[in-house]
């Protein structure tokens, strides 16, 4: 499904060029559940956002199915993101002015789902994550863990075929973390491809394989 060939990312800093990612070669098949691990600052989030089409400033080749992403215009990349990706941000990035339910509604509304349908989907998702009671609260009124739950819920609400999750359980109690992982497993069994970043070996165990990053280099498995 995803094929990265010699992908490199560099940024200009005061000190000159810095490479964040080097010679990344990666194959992820459809229906895989992959875990990316590595020390802080290794470039995990950077890689994830490239896979998620948020970041277009890199060199190398990226194929999604047969499509050469590196040849696409930013607008077309954004369209791919919208069609395939559900993303859980490390910093959650919930919209502060919107309630929990409204935050969940956002991806659906951008995918032109009809209003009546949306209400049903949002209600189901709230139920699934056990946050029905919080649906009218604003993000600032939630605990860090609750915010993370909402962020995960928002990522899957539009039924993406590719879930990219950047430390989705970092703030959660282990029981809740397990529930998320179980959910990912279920989605993966149903055919959703998942790439997650985590520091937890327990979480990594839910996946099929682990990719290790160190200083921007892909380590041997």
């Amino acid at each position: 499904m995803i094929k990265l060939l010699n992908l490199e990312k560099s940024v200009k800093t005061k000190a000159g060029f810095t490479y964040l990612l080097r010679q990344i070669n990666l194959d992820i098949a459809e229906g895989e559940f992959v875990t990316i691990m590595g020390p802080s600052g290794a470039g995990k989030s950077t890689l994830l956002s490239i896979i998620g089409f948020y970041d277009s400033a890199w060199e190398g080749e990226y194929y999604l199915f047969d499509q050469a992403v590196h040849k696409l215009a930013p607008k077309e990349r954004a369209a791919l993101n919208k069609r395939h990706v559900g993303f859980v941000f490390q910093q959650f990035h919930l919209l502060e002015d919107l309630t929990v339910a409204e935050n969940l509604d956002i991806p659906l509304s951008y995918r032109d789902v009809r209003k009546s349908e949306r209400e049903g989907i949002v209600a189901d998702t709230l139920d699934r994550f056990g946050i029905v009671a919080k649906k009218d609260l604003f993000p600032s009124q939630l605990s860090g863990g609750q915010q993370q739950l909402v962020a995960v819920a928002r990522a899957i609400v539009a039924k993406p075929s590719l879930i990219l999750a950047d430390e989705p359980t970092g703030n959660l109690h282990s029981d809740q973390g397990r529930e998320i992982m179980e959910l990912f497993k279920k989605l993966n069994d149903a055919g959703t491809t998942i790439v997650q970043v985590t520091h937890s070996e327990t979480n990594a165990a839910y996946g099929h394989r682990v990719i290790r990053l160190r200083d921007g280099w892909l380590a041997k498995e």
Binding site: D55, F87, L94
Partner: protein, 834 residues
């Protein structure tokens, strides 16, 4: 002091913000100070010196005059009686404009208008000459029966006269000036802003006080001005005048014989008129009386309103700017609070900056004031009485400072309060998550935008209506063809032609022949207005109507053919109509409507009651012509009937030739002057002008007013657009992260663009609705009198639609730029921002 220094440094650090804020404020404040200064010194406080409210005008009025609203002068009997009441007035001065003097300039004699005044006249106004001196008490000269001083005397000349006749020569003092065959010695020159009691006065002559003299009954033409003594109220003075009124009515009773007591008989003609009395009014009222005073008031107050709106818009803009800045400084304020700065301390700091900004704005405003006042002076007609110089006066300056300070405080206070509260909250909590614009904040900014849009809409509506008014005015059918038409009004020497109808007619016929022979002249018509109304009875119509008599030429000198006035019914005059006995008349449409509405006028009769014994003078209508507006598009058309010009005396309007010309009418001016001089060597200066130009010039005041309103409205619109732009642009900056998240969630650029545009459009929409309601209400309030004459509906749908379209287009453009910026947000960048 520390706060002040810091505020100054802050302003210098943000030159863009400071420049925009100072200019915006300066514009609002400057324009308003200018209009306020002008209004104040021309309308509200036109009287100079200490205690101007004690200065009064005293005049005679009968019921009829009271109705027309005009305040007339007094006659000698009243003045004499006033002089005896020294308990009430500390100053009692007068002025009488009388007949114009003639002054020789080049080939022609020119008429110059001046006033005969009491020798203490200038002292009453604290008016000092720029050269020489004013009159001494012993310089007053008796006035003869003809209104001329009987001896040579001193003269004080006006600034304009000094410039035109002496080229502003400082050596004018002591020089001799010849007027109407008498010599006057110039003793002083008044400054340009002194024009009293009439702005067109070219000079002032010292004259003896009016008194009842055995050889003359004078009409009440002495304008009398008085200063109330301390402790005397206007009511008390009026009560005294009421007593005087009673006394004079007894002294000049009805039914005196003109043979035995013709003086008392003559003055009784005025004093015994119905409702006659002596009235007193504040001097201030002389500056705003009549239709012209009304017009000026309307124009200036219209501008006051319009500029007030601009000031409000400017204030809203500045408030928005300061608000946005304070929000951006929350971080700094939070740190200060955490370091122990109290709420008062924080507020003071924010306020200091606002007030400093307001002061700078006020300073810029002063500069703009000076320009603005120069621009506004074109609205003040020169012939309007004026005593005072138009300048930035103390109160206007005070108001400027108040406005600028108030704006600074208001703009600083809200964010100041808010800023300090947020700062404290932030200091307590960990650095909050809130990076999107708070709902309260958005409402606050949005409210200001709504107000701006509403105000801009009102301004634009006003300007739009004025444009329509002027356009309509320029399309009014004047009732004749003004193209290539020249009007020549001739000044025949009175001494030779007064009451000499035969001689006058011969001269006019001679002149007509000379003009007709000039190259390019196609037709020459003659017109002579009597200038005063006469009362007639109408057969089968109203009992008594006031009609104006106009003399006109016929056949080769036919006025209507030369002017191309349409004949609506009947026929034109021919030679058989000459002579009172013919009893024929051509009337205008207005008269036909007045006397025989909806009926055929030709063949109907109207009659003037003749002297006792003699029969009525009866006129039969033989023709009806269209109404003529030949001086201004909006001139009032009076019910008029025409008779051959040969029957009219010289008094009234001057004989006038209307010449239809093939080529450019201007080219003929010199030849015409030559012909006039050849036909009558004693001819006065003729008044020659191109009719079409005159008509266009008559719209000058309205056009200027329209341009000003347009400029003001454009300024208001620009400021509003800036405001909308600023608010949305600021909102986009604040919402960068939110927009990034939305894009990460799948929102396309198009959608983001739409989101920002929608937000702007919502504000604009609310503003437009509010503005529409206010505009309709305002125009209803002002509309009736404003647009009565030309039937511009105050809520004209075309104007409103045009204004809405224009405003929306500009406002949406102002939204478009920030919206486009929002659509260009890179989600990756925006999210890393955290």
């Amino acid at each position: 002091m520390n706060d002040f220094k810091f505020a100054f440094r802050q302003l210098l650090k943000n030159p863009g913000f400071t420049a925009v804020a100072v200019l915006t404020l300066g514009l609002g404040i400057g324009a308003n100070t200018a209009i306020f200064s002008v209004v104040n010194s021309t309308l509200l406080n036109p009287v100079p010196g200490p205690e101007p409210e004690r200065l009064m005008q005293i005049g005679e009025q009968n019921s009829e005059q009271r109705q027309s609203g005009f305040f007339h002068g007094v006659g000698p009997p009243v003045f004499q009686a006033l002089r005896e009441n020294q308990d009430f007035f500390s100053d009692l001065v007068w002025a009488n404009s009388g007949t114009p003097f003639s002054s020789k300039t080049g080939d022609f004699t020119e008429r110059v208008q001046g006033s005969r005044v009491s020798s203490d006249f200038f002292g009453c106004w604290n008016a000092r000459p720029i050269l020489g001196r004013t009159f001494a008490p012993d310089e007053a000269v008796p006035i003869g029966k003809d209104g001329m001083p009987i001896a040579d005397s001193a003269i004080v000349i006006a600034y304009a006269f000094w410039k035109s006749h002496f080229s502003g020569d400082a050596d004018v003092i002591g020089k001799s000036i010849e007027l109407s065959g008498r010599r006057f010695t110039a003793i002083g020159v008044m400054p340009s802003h002194f024009g009293f009691p009439w702005g067109g006065d070219q000079f002032w002559l010292p004259a003896e006080d009016p008194h009842v003299r055995p050889d003359l009954v004078e009409t009440p033409n002495y304008k009398v001005f008085a200063r109330l003594k301390p402790g005397v109220s206007a009511q008390q003075a009026q009560a005294m005048l009421d007593v005087l009124t009673q006394r004079l009515m007894r002294e000049y009773p009805r039914g005196m014989s003109p043979k035995t007591d013709w003086l008392r008989y003559g003055y009784a003609m005025f004093i015994q008129k119905e409702g006659w009395s002596i009235r007193i009014r504040p001097l201030r009222e002389i500056f705003v009386e009549g239709q012209l005073g009304m017009n000026l008031k309307r124009t200036l107050f219209g501008l006051v309103g319009a500029l007030g709106f601009v000031l409000l818009i400017a204030c809203a803009n500045v408030a928005n700017l300061i608000l946005a800045r304070t929000e951006n400084r929350q971080q700094e304020l939070a740190i200060r609070a955490a370091l122990g700065a109290g709420r008062v301390r924080l507020m003071r700091q924010v306020l200091t900056e606002s007030v400093l900004l307001a002061f700078l704005g006020g300073l810029a405003g002063l500069v703009i004031t000076v320009w603005g006042m120069m621009a506004l002076e074109s609205f003040i007609p020169y012939w309007r009485p004026h005593l005072k110089e138009v300048r930035i006066d103390g109160s206007a300056l005070g108001i400027t400072l108040l406005i600028s300070l108030g704006t600074g405080l208001a703009a600083g206070l809200a964010p100041g309060l808010r800023g300090s509260r947020v700062a404290l909250a932030n200091a307590m909590k960990q650095a909050g998550t809130g990076a999107t614009v708070g709902i309260g904040w958005r409402r606050y900014h949005g409210g200001l935008v709504v107000i701006q849009v509403a105000l801009a809409l009102i301004l634009l509506t006003g300007a739009g209506l004025m444009i329509e008014n002027v356009v309509r005015l320029l399309h009014v059918n004047p009732g004749f063809d003004p193209e290539n038409l020249l009007r020549v009004s001739v000044q025949l020497p009175w001494e030779k032609y007064e009451r000499q109808r035969e001689k006058t007619s011969l001269l006019l016929a001679d002149l007509r022949e000379r003009f007709a022979a000039l190259p390019g002249v196609k037709a020459v018509g003659i017109e002579k207005e009597s200038g005063f109304p006469e009362t007639f009875n109408v057969d089968g119509g109203p009992q008594s109507v006031e009609l104006y008599r106009v003399g006109c030429g016929m056949e080769e000198s036919d006025l209507f053919r030369a002017m191309r006035v349409p004949l609506l019914a009947g026929r034109y005059f021919n030679r058989d109509d000459i002579g009172e006995g013919s009893g024929t008349a051509i009337i205008n449409e207005t008269m036909a409507q007045l006397c025989w509405p909806e009926e055929v006028a030709v063949g109907r009769k109207f009659r003037a009651p003749g002297a006792p014994g003699a029969g009525d003078q009866v006129y039969e209508v033989v023709g009806v012509v269209g109404d003529i507006r030949d001086y201004s598009y909006d001139q009032e058309v009076f019910p008029t009937f025409y008779r051959p010009y040969q029957e009219l005396d010289l008094q009234g309007g001057p004989p006038t030739f209307l010449m239809r010309i093939h080529t450019d009418p201007r080219a003929l001016t010199q030849v015409i002057r030559k012909e006039l001089k050849a036909a009558e060597p004693a001819m006065g200066t003729p008044d020659i002008h191109v009719v079409k130009q005159k008509l266009y010039d008559s719209t000058q005041a309205r056009r200027t007013y329209m341009y000003y309103l347009m400029v003001i409205a454009a300024g208001g619109l620009l400021l509003s657009a800036l405001g909308i732009y600023g608010v949305l642009s600021y909102a986009v900056t604040r919402r960068t992260r939110e927009i990034g998240i939305r894009m990460a969630m799948g929102a396309e650029r198009r959608r983001v663009l739409g989101m920002v545009l929608r937000e702007g459009a919502r504000l604009i929409g609310v503003g437009v609705v509010a503005g529409l309601v206010a505009a309709l209400w305002l125009t209803r309030l002002l509309g009736n009198q404003l647009f009565k004459l030309f039937e511009v509906r105050p809520n004209d749908p075309v104007v409103l639609a045009g204004v809405l379209l224009f405003l929306s287009a500009v406002a949406l453009l102002a939204c478009w730029l920030p919206a486009r910026r929002a659509a260009r947000v890179d989600p990756m960048e925006a999210l890393r921002y955290e």
